[in-house]
Symmetry: C2
DNA sequence: TCGATAGTTCAATAAACATTGAACATAGGA
DNA sequence: TCCTATGTTCAATGTTTATTGAACTATCGA
């Protein structure tokens, strides 16, 4: 039987392969910034979210596209479990490569949460 | 006599108009990141550099394009003096809007200076 | 006043990007 | 075993992007 593509974990860059321009470019898109922000908010509750939790941000296939970019640049990790894909922030790797960067971006985003139309923390938790 | 366009200072966004996605997008381009980095290195010597100081990074008209993007997003300020345009980083405004962000990016860039082909500090100073 | 220097503007081009919907693959439950 | 939920793949579309060179404008100094 031929191995099934979809059940395999997609490729991720190693920590050392994470590149600053790619990370910044990823974070510069409002939808991807919202994904990363929501992931960060959720971290206190659980470190993972699945694709469906972001349905409010864009259409399904568009989200797949943005997830791939976030994965390719090293910001997110995807874990496959059954029919779900669980995402988490690669906090430690980011912190090791670019100390303070992710937090500076997240705090900047939090400051402009209204302007950027980001979900408030309570929204995320309640939506569970 | 009709006022001469080129002698006027180009428009800049106010501090409040500076937007996070635009700033990140600006910094995600390797040439623009190099410009900002060089400007930051130079700050200890003088807070300003003129277009010609960046000739190593790209062609003249391409530089004009990147300078415009940096100015439009609020990262740089341009001052016109004779036939020169002097650039400086809008450090205070950036710090007020997004505390810690610029420094986190600059430190990250410094860590990857080789990979990003950024000018070493001594190169900048010696090139004067 | 002329020439050189500094930088801008404009049009053209090729590549990358975000977005959509339709078709598909996979896993789990009735 | 079939139905449903979850998510991916693919092709098509229109937009934005970076880069180039040629023509231009403005300023300074000889």
């Amino acid at each position: 039987m031929i191995p099934h593509i979809m059940s395999r974990t997609p490729p991720h860059p190693t920590r050392e392969q994470i590149e600053l321009p790619l990370v910044l470019d990823c974070l510069s898109d409002p939808i991807r910034l919202a994904i990363v922000y929501q992931l960060a908010q959720q971290e206190r509750v659980s470190s993972e979210l699945c694709c469906g939790d972001f349905n409010g941000l864009a259409g399904k296939s568009n989200l797949t596209y943005h997830f791939a970019k976030l994965r390719d640049c090293g910001l997110m990790q995807t874990r496959v479990a059954g029919t779900n894909r669980f995402m988490r922030l690669r906090r430690e790797d980011l912190e090791a490569r670019f100390p303070g960067l992710l937090d500076a971006v997240l705090q900047s985003a939090a400051k402009d949460a209204d302007r950027l139309q980001l979900v408030a923390e309570c929204d995320v938790v309640e939506a569970k």
